[in-house]
Symmetry: C2
């Protein structure tokens, strides 16, 4: 899903639920993972979606198949927000950004009286909801840049270990979809290299993706800012994060980012919103068997229902629009129904 298309209304809802204080530092718990087995996707119900995954892996790894893909070309890409983990009530990284505002203002007190910092500090939810996209970008720049890459990593790691989702009261890193963890593992067991291709910040996702998804930093493609090489007071080299956008990894930026970072067209792509459309199109336009899948949030009980699942054909609430649904139908993308296709949603459910 797209950071730049962030619905400002979610800013209200999250501010209602901000924890008063950070919870004590916890380590990220090990998540349930599958091992190669007769049933590699145990959290999936039988159906079109599960069959599409199994058929794809069978045909691309069978050397006798016309769709066989050499091991070195087996590339699978996954959107993160709404595809691998919960994106409601708001993108985790935007929340991180808002929560960092007090620390930024403490370092630079004059910001206290300057919009949009003043607005965020006020806690005035209506005013925060009215912040423009430019305001949000200013907040992102101020809270996520101007520090060394090591400082950024340490800050983000500390936050991700302590922050809790308002609904489940659990770390965000536990709110990953167990069925998708199984897909990641199943693809890797079959020689696929798995990548995250996210509108979220590349450096932010890198902080926890190894532990949470088993995906190393160089396989995270995300919205990326520049860094500047220089020397600290002690003469030691420093890489400082700059407020300069190198890659806006949303929409057309996703295939462009894939080319920049991976250099090959994927054989499998998973998304959940219009921000993933071009990535799925690009994947689907390759020859042979290509797997294109969209997660539909239609489970108000176990997770959320939004987009077309709300039964509002012209709904603007989610970004899984009717037009995206139509393209999926027309081009043979497979829609994953959270409600029908997944036996369980989260690793902590039994």
């Amino acid at each position: 899903m797209s950071l730049s298309s962030v619905n400002r209304r979610v800013l209200i809802s999250i501010l209602t639920s901000l924890p008063a204080l950070s919870s004590p530092l916890l380590t990220i718990p090990a998540l349930a993972q599958t091992t190669p087995s007769v049933n590699p996707l145990p959290s999936w119900n039988d159906g079109t979606a599960k069959r599409a995954i199994l058929d794809f892996v069978r045909t691309t790894t069978d050397t006798a198949s016309p769709n066989h893909v050499p091991a070195e070309d087996r590339i699978a890409v996954f959107d993160q927000d709404g595809t691998l983990w919960v994106e409601h009530p708001m993108y985790t990284q935007v929340l991180y950004c808002l929560e960092r505002v007090p620390a930024v203002v403490e370092k630079e007190p004059k910001l206290k009286d300057v919009a949009p910092f003043k607005t965020v500090l006020s806690g005035d939810r209506e005013a925060i909801a009215r912040l423009s996209l430019r305001d949000l970008e200013e907040l992102l720049a101020a809270t996520l840049t101007g520090m060394s890459v090591e400082e950024f990593n340490a800050e983000a790691k500390k936050w991700i270990e302590t922050a809790r989702h308002p609904r489940w009261k659990r770390p965000y890193t536990e709110l990953v979809y167990q069925p998708m963890l199984e897909v990641l593992q199943f693809l890797r067991d079959n020689g696929f290299k798995t990548y995250i291709v996210t509108g979220g910040g590349q450096d932010f996702v890198r902080v926890y993706a190894g532990q949470v998804y088993g995906i190393p930093p160089d396989q995270i493609v995300g919205t990326a800012g520049g860094t500047k090489y220089g020397y600290g007071k002690d003469g030691k080299p420093v890489l400082t994060k700059e407020p300069k956008l190198i890659l806006n990894d949303n929409n057309a930026g996703k295939p462009e980012g894939i080319h920049l970072m991976i250099g090959r067209r994927p054989y499998a792509a998973f998304g959940n919103s219009t921000g993933d459309r071009e990535m799925l199109e690009w994947t689907g336009a390759g020859s042979g068997a290509r797997l294109k899948m969209l997660v539909l949030h239609d489970d108000a009980v176990r997770e959320y229902a939004y987009g077309p699942a709300q039964g509002l054909p012209d709904s603007k609430v989610g970004t899984f629009t009717p037009a995206l649904y139509d393209e999926a139908e027309k081009d043979g993308w497979t829609v994953i129904s959270m409600k029908s296709d997944w036996k369980r949603v989260f690793p902590f459910e039994h």
Copy 2:
């Protein structure tokens, strides 16, 4: 070595030796590679350089060592031009660019009378030598962008299979250093992920790096332009190469590119010029054992002698400057003498 610091004088020398016609299409021959053995670096003479490599691998892979590095953090980066293959008399990619000028002019005949295209077509070596850096950039943009990524790959592949080096009359892809191929393999055998970090074009190097170095496209960090996602006349998605610079992967751009593409600090770095200085500094500034090595071109018989090896302390011919030599001494980087450290230079020598 740096594309932007290209010595214009080499343009003259190469034009003297351009092959009149392309040679018949050849496949790239398989290169000699080592397999794990008691002597993993057979083309290296015993000495400081070989010992530095062996010691580094021993200490970083020994779980009992205080310098032990977990497998997922074992990152090794290699400059290409002058470090993995021959860079004289000029960068292979600049040559590719000049040789593509006639094809570009054929498609757009009005360029025939416009500088710098007119100059290149004239064959006037003195005039070509006077081309400015801006002229060269215009040539790079015209010859390497404005086409789909697939078209670029096909063109570059065809050229790299047919072009011949003027001195050895062999494909450029055979002019790789056998001792360095052994280092790449030795590091991989010990769990290191090997990357090329080159001032050359990322997409250009990706075309042959798999076959030549065993390094896949997503492990090539190079000077990179943007692409633009769109749709062709048939409605199919197209990624078009744009004349927009995203990453100038030289000097400070090397650690910046490493952060963008790899996201971790390397444990080993190999270079040969001032364009690699910041990459070696950045590598060396990490904790624990870090391997920093510089190839010195001091073998006029088997390859070339340039830089300080010419015995000219203030020589500007090479970019391995005396200042770089001093930094190497001071910071404990190991200089590899091509002449003394390498038993053989190329895979085709026996």
